[in-house]
């Protein structure tokens, strides 16, 4: 999924780099609003969690496995701005310390997985959550739908970039079919895993889930007496 060096031509890479830098700058300001002076340690730990989450390989069958991308998951758990910021830092660390994803393609990777992945996932999540009943049990399915949609949308944006600045003479229609088809399969896996992870966090600590916060705050304090 990480775009390497030389996949898109230099002008496209520079433009996506500028888009990514702008997005990260806005995310920085907004994340500080979400977390105030806790931003650095909290975002750092969440980024480490996302990195660890990407290390788990989920068996798909026939000997292949896929791993979580985590855009929608991060957006639902910590909010879209902090989530996009964390994913961008993960991609930066992977490019600089693990040679995963090209240095010149960093802007493309941040735009696709950080910005598009997080915000599409979060927007769809909010839409679905608005339709479903206002209960904490609706959070996980809504997050799953968000994850399901975010992966093919990121693939579509990639195809668009490829049509503009691609370096291989492959028919755009064929790229679109292949990318969207393949990423819908990945998206299904992403959706199942995201839904299950969010469900387990909602069950244990609903107050930590950014997407469920409005439900937790609306809860009234109940004092139950033990039967005498």
């Amino acid at each position: 999924m990480h775009v390497p060096d030389g996949f898109l031509d230099a002008p496209t890479s520079v433009v996506t780099g500028v888009v990514a830098a702008g997005g990260v700058a806005v995310a920085l300001r907004k994340a500080r609003g979400e977390l105030d002076d806790r931003t650095a340690p909290m975002a750092g730990l969440v980024a480490a969690f996302i990195f660890a989450g990407q290390m788990i390989n989920f068996p798909v069958g026939a000997g292949t496995s896929g791993h979580l991308l985590g855009g929608a998951l991060a957006a639902v758990l910590v909010g879209p701005w902090t989530g996009a910021l964390c994913l961008s830092v993960v991609l930066l660390v992977q490019a600089l310390f693990m040679a995963d994803g090209g240095v010149t393609a960093l802007g493309t990777n941040i735009t696709l997985m950080g910005l598009v992945g997080c915000f599409t996932g979060y927007a769809v999540f909010r839409l679905v959550a608005a339709v479903l009943p206002r209960r904490t049990s609706s959070i996980a399915p809504a997050a799953a739908v968000g994850a399901l949609v975010s992966v093919p949308v990121a693939a579509c944006v990639f195809t668009l970039l490829f049509a503009i600045g691609g370096t291989a003479p492959v028919d755009t229609g064929a790229v679109l079919t292949a990318m969207v088809g393949w990423h819908t399969v990945i998206g299904i896996g992403e959706a199942v895993v995201t839904g299950l992870v969010v469900a387990s966090v909602v069950a244990a600590r609903p107050d930590l889930v950014h997407g469920a916060r409005h439900l937790v705050e609306a809860r009234e304090l109940e004092i139950r007496r033990a039967a005498a």
Partner: protein, 221 residues
Amino acid sequence: MGAGHGHRLYFGGHSAVHRLPAHLKVLALVGFMLTVVATPRDWYPVFGGYLLVVVSVILLSRVPLLYVVRRMVIEVPFVVFALLVPFIATGPRTDVLGLAVSEPGLLAAWGLLAKGTLGVMASLTLAATTEPTDVLVGLRRLHLPDLVVQIMGFMIRYLDVVTSDLGRMMVSMRSRGMNPRSPRSWPTLARTLGALFIRSYERGERVHLAMLSRGYTGRLP
């Protein structure tokens, strides 16, 4: 746990490449890769020159060439794609070993492979010769936003803590008979990730409180 530990790709040494300030190395890497990406792919001798530059920097750093080559497996999925391009690309066909492949596709595959491989080699050289803390200092000197550098610092510092936390969970699940190869283990793996998120988040809160009690005001010294 902390700054003293090298990370997975770092190969300790005292060569000139190791001692070079990190911000110069990052700048050199980005500049070099932008040049490589902007080079037309049919200038074949120029790519030979690029390879020579990367290999001589690796030799100068006294990092064994095999150490870098072995870590280039990260490129494999992308190589598979590049090898497919001649078959799916449009344009006039030509025969290679009895297979009809697209001519511009062949050229494109060469370009992808050459540029991608140079990128991985150059990035690995930076990672192998620079301590993570030095890279952070370099990025700050390059005027990357202070908050981004701080977040990166915390991520790198706690990466081993969080991943070994996950490792311990996986070991204990395996020892209780979970089979990670079966899709039936998805719910278990997902609950593990959920628990890992809660642990990481709460660790973040504890780290923040510990920093506050030592006088943290939003900036690191």
